[in-house]
C-alpha cells in the first residue's frame, strides 16, 4: 500500500515537472499550450476546488426505469472520507429493497492501482473481499456502472480540451477524458464543465466500440460550506437500450468528523 501510494505521488510529480519544464522552455515565446494540457489544467482546477471537504454523508435514492416505464427503487446511504494522497474511502449502506437491507459496500479508491472493495452480507454476517475488476458491470441492476460511482481521481484519465460550448445559457468547457485504468467499459467520456463553477453538467459515455452508450446529466446543484457543489439530481440515460436511472440526493452533510475508523471492516458490520 505504502509502495503503491509512493508510485502514485511520484507519477504525479513527474507530470507536474514536465509541465514546468515545458513552461520554462517556452516562456519567452508566445504562450501556447496543447489541448491535452489545457484539458488537464481544467480538470486539476475542478479537482482543486473540490479538495478539502474532509468527509461527507448523504442519502441517495435510485429510481430504475425500464423501457416500459416500470420503476423500481433503491435507497442507499453514502459516506465518503477524503484521503489527500490517495483515492477517497467510501461506505455505501443499502436500505432498500428490503431483502438486501443492511448490506454494505466498503471501497478504498486508488488513482491507478485497483481499488480495494469489501461487501458485507448481513444474513450470513460475512465480510467478503470482492474483486474491483468489475468496473463496467451494472451497480444494483441500474444504468450506473461501478466505475461511474467510485470516487473521481485526476490521474485515472488522460484529458483533451475540445472546445467551448454554451448549454442552457451556461458557458462550458468540453473535455474528452480517456480512462487510463484497466477494464473500463468506455473508450472515452465527453465532459461538459461549467466555466464559472468548475462542475460537471453532463457526461457522454462511449462504449468499447466507440458508440454513444449513456448520457448523464447533473441538475439542481447546491453549494455546501460555501464552496462544494453537489448535484441534487442526476439522470443516467442508456442511449442504446432506452433504460434510465435517476438519482436524487438528500441530507448532504459535510465535515461531520468521520475518520478511517468509520471506514473499516468493524464499522462495515455495524451497518443497519
Amino acid at each position: 500500500m505504502l509502495f503503491q501510494t509512493f508510485k502514485n505521488t511520484s507519477g504525479e510529480k513527474m507530470n507536474k515537472s514536465t509541465v514546468f519544464l515545458f513552461l520554462a522552455l517556452f516562456s519567452n515565446v508566445s504562450y501556447s499550450i496543447t489541448p491535452e494540457q489545457r484539458g488537464l489544467e481544467i480538470i486539476q482546477e475542478a479537482d482543486k476546488r473540490d479538495t478539502g471537504f474532509g468527509d461527507s454523508k448523504a442519502d441517495m435514492k435510485m429510481i430504475l426505469k425500464n423501457r416500459q416505464g416500470e420503476e423500481s427503487i433503491r435507497i442507499l446511504e453514502i459516506q465518503t472520507l477524503e484521503i489527500v494522497d490517495d483515492g477517497d474511502k467510501s461506505l455505501i449502506i443499502f436500505d432498500s429493497p428490503a431483502d438486501v437491507k443492511g448490506t454494505a459496500f466498503l471501497s478504498f479508491t486508488h488513482a491507478l492501482i485497483p481499488d480495494d472493495q469489501w461487501l458485507y452480507l448481513p444474513a450470513v454476517k460475512r465480510v467478503k473481499r470482492i474483486s474491483s475488476s468489475n468496473k463496467s458491470g451494472p451497480f444494483l441492476g441500474s444504468e450506473y456502472a461501478f466505475e461511474d460511482l467510485t470516487s473521481f481521481e485526476v490521474p485515472k484519465y488522460s484529458y483533451k480540451y475540445l472546445k467551448d460550448e454554451t448549454v442552457d445559457g451556461i458557458g462550458c468547457f468540453i473535455i474528452e477524458a480517456t480512462p487510463k485504468y484497466e477494464e473500463s467499459g468506455y473508450t472515452r467520456e465527453i465532459l461538459w464543465i461549467d466555466k464559472d463553477r468548475y462542475i460537471s453538467l453532463k457526461i457522454d459515455y462511449y462504449d468499447r466500440k466507440n458508440a454513444l452508450l449513456k448520457t448523464l446529466t447533473f441538475k439542481n446543484h447546491q453549494q455546501y460550506l460555501k464552496r462544494y457543489w453537489r448535484a441534487s439530481e442526476m439522470l443516467m440515460v442508456n442511449q442504446q437500450n432506452g433504460k434510465s436511472t435517476a438519482l436524487t440526493w438528500e441530507n448532504y452533510q459535510f465535515k461531520i468528523g468521520l475518520t478511517d475508523r468509520d471506514f473499516d471492516q468493524n464499522t462495515l458490520q455495524r451497518a443497519h
Binding site: D99, S133, G137, N266, R270, H272
Partner: protein, 397 residues
C-alpha cells in the same frame, strides 16, 4: 421480580433519554416447500414438508450508531417433524463502539473464514442443522466480545458462556443419522467447563491480502456421532458426543484482478487424534460478459482432512468445482451450481442455489441438493435417499 422490573424500567428510561433515533423494524416472513425425491428410508418420514418462518429484526441505535441494541428472534413452524418446529434468538445484543475498540455483549452470530465449499475455521456459533443442511444457518451464541482495533489489525477476544447443542431433524425428518437420539447427547465436560468457551481471532487486510488467525477452546460445535449398544450387543441408538477441543485456524484470501485465492486450515486437538483439515482454491470471474451485465465465476476448491475415511466428515480428499452466475438485473438474479466429488471413492454431491427478487419485497430462493455413489462405508451413506429440492418464497419488510 422487582429487580427485573427495575432493570426493565431502567432500560426503558435509558432508551428514552436517547430516544431520538426511532426503533427500526425490518425482517422477513417466508413459506417453504421441502420435497424429497426418493422413497424414504424410514416409514415415519414424509416426502414433502411445508413450513413457514418469521425473523423480525428490531434495532435501536443511538450516539450516531456508536451504540445499538439489536433483537432478532426466529421461529419456524413445520407441518411434519416437531424438531423442525423451532425457536431461536438469533441476536440480542448491546453494542458499543469506540475509537480503538468495540464491545459486543449478548447473543450474536459471528462468521470467520474465506472459503466457499465449507467453513472449517468458523466455530463460534452452533449450526442450526435442522433449519438447513447447508450448514449456513447458525444458532445465536451468548458472548462477550471485545474487539481491539489498532494499526496492527483487529483482535477479537471472546468469552462464550452457554453451550448450544446442534439441532438435528427428528424421526419424521430427513437428512439425519440413523437411530439418532439427540436427547441423549453426551459431553466430555460437565457444568461450567462444558458451557464456557474462549476464543480469539486476529484479522487484518494488507493490500490485496485478507487474513485471520484464530484459536478456540471449549466444547466442540461438531459432535461425534457415537453408537450405543444394548447388553446383547445390538445397536440401540446413536448419540451426539461433544468433546472438549482446542482449535487453531488460519484463513487467507488474496484478491488480484479477476482472481481470488482462498485458503482455510485448522488443527483440532481433543476430538480423537489431533488432525489437520484444509480447504483451498480459487475463484475466477468474468465480469460484464459481452457488455451484457452478466457475470460468470468459476470456482474450484480442494477439501482435505487428515482423518481420512476414519473421520466423520464428508470431505477428506474432495474437489469442489462450481459456477456462479450473476445476472446483475433489477431482480438481483443469482445462480450457484457446484459438484463436489471424492477423489478416491464415487461419492458426489450436487448443489444448485438460485435466488431472484420479485417486485420490491418478495424473494424466491431455490435450492437443490443431490448426492450419489456413497457406499456402505462412506460417511455420506445415510444421505442416499435424501435428494431434495427446497423452495422458499419470502416477504421482506
Amino acid at each position: 421480580m422487582t429487580q427485573i422490573a427495575r432493570i426493565c424500567i431502567g432500560t426503558l428510561l435509558l432508551l428514552n433519554s436517547y430516544a431520538l433515533y426511532a426503533l427500526e423494524l425490518s425482517g422477513y416472513l417466508g413459506i417453504e416447500s421441502l420435497g424429497f425425491l426418493q422413497n424414504p428410508l424410514f416409514p415415519q418420514q414424509h416426502s414433502h414438508y411445508l413450513s413457514a418462518a418469521i425473523q423480525p429484526q428490531l434495532v435501536h441505535e443511538w450516539e450516531n450508531g456508536k451504540q445499538s441494541l439489536t433483537f432478532v428472534p426466529f421461529f419456524r413452524l413445520s407441518q411434519h417433524d416437531n424438531r423442525r418446529t423451532h425457536f431461536d434468538i438469533r441476536e440480542l445484543t448491546w453494542l458499543k463502539a469506540a475509537d480503538t475498540w468495540e464491545l459486543r455483549t449478548g447473543i450474536r452470530k459471528v462468521f470467520w473464514g474465506m472459503a466457499e465449499s465449507q467453513h472449517l475455521v468458523d466455530i463460534i456459533n452452533q449450526t442450526d442443522l435442522v433449519e438447513n443442511f447447508d450448514m449456513e444457518d447458525k444458532l445465536g451464541q451468548p458472548m462477550i466480545n471485545l474487539a481491539l482495533i489498532r494499526d496492527w489489525g483487529t483482535l477479537d477476544l471472546f468469552l462464550l458462556p452457554g453451550f448450544r447443542e446442534r439441532t438435528f431433524a427428528g424421526s419424521e425428518g430427513h437428512l439425519n443419522f440413523p437411530m439418532l437420539n439427540q436427547g441423549a447427547a453426551r459431553f466430555e465436560k460437565q457444568g461450567i467447563e462444558k458451557h464456557l468457551a474462549y476464543a480469539f481471532r486476529w484479522s487484518k487486510a494488507i493490500a490485496e491480502w485478507d487474513m485471520g488467525l484464530s484459536y478456540f477452546y471449549g466444547t466442540n460445535r461438531t459432535p461425534t456421532i457415537v453408537p450405543e449398544f444394548d447388553p446383547l450387543g445390538n445397536l440401540k441408538q446413536t448419540v451426539p458426543f461433544y468433546e472438549n477441543i482446542h482449535q487453531t485456524g488460519l484463513d487467507v484470501q488474496y484478491t488480484k484482478g479477476n482472481w481470488q485465492w482462498k485458503l482455510e486450515t485448522i488443527v483440532r486437538a481433543g476430538q480423537g487424534k489431533t488432525f489437520v483439515a484444509g480447504t483451498g482454491g480459487l475463484e475466477y470471474s468474468f465480469y460484464n460478459i459481452f457488455e451484457s451485465g452478466f457475470d460468470i465465476g468459476l470456482l474450484t476448491e480442494y477439501l482435505y482432512d487428515s482423518r481420512g475415511r476414519n473421520g466423520q466428515t464428508f470431505f477428506q480428499d474432495d474437489i469442489m468445482t462450481g459456477l456462479r452466475f450473476g445476472f446483475n438485473d433489477e431482480q438481483s438474479t443469482e445462480i450457484l451450481a457446484s459438484i463436489t466429488f471424492d477423489r478416491t471413492s464415487n461419492t458426489k454431491f450436487y448443489n444448485v442455489e438460485a435466488s431472484r427478487r420479485l417486485g420490491e419485497s418478495l424473494k424466491l430462493t431455490l435450492e437443490a441438493r443431490f448426492s450419489s455413489g456413497a457406499d456402505k462405508n462412506d460417511f455420506a451413506f445415510f444421505l442416499r435417499q435424501d435428494d431434495h429440492i427446497r423452495a422458499e418464497l419470502s416477504y421482506h419488510f
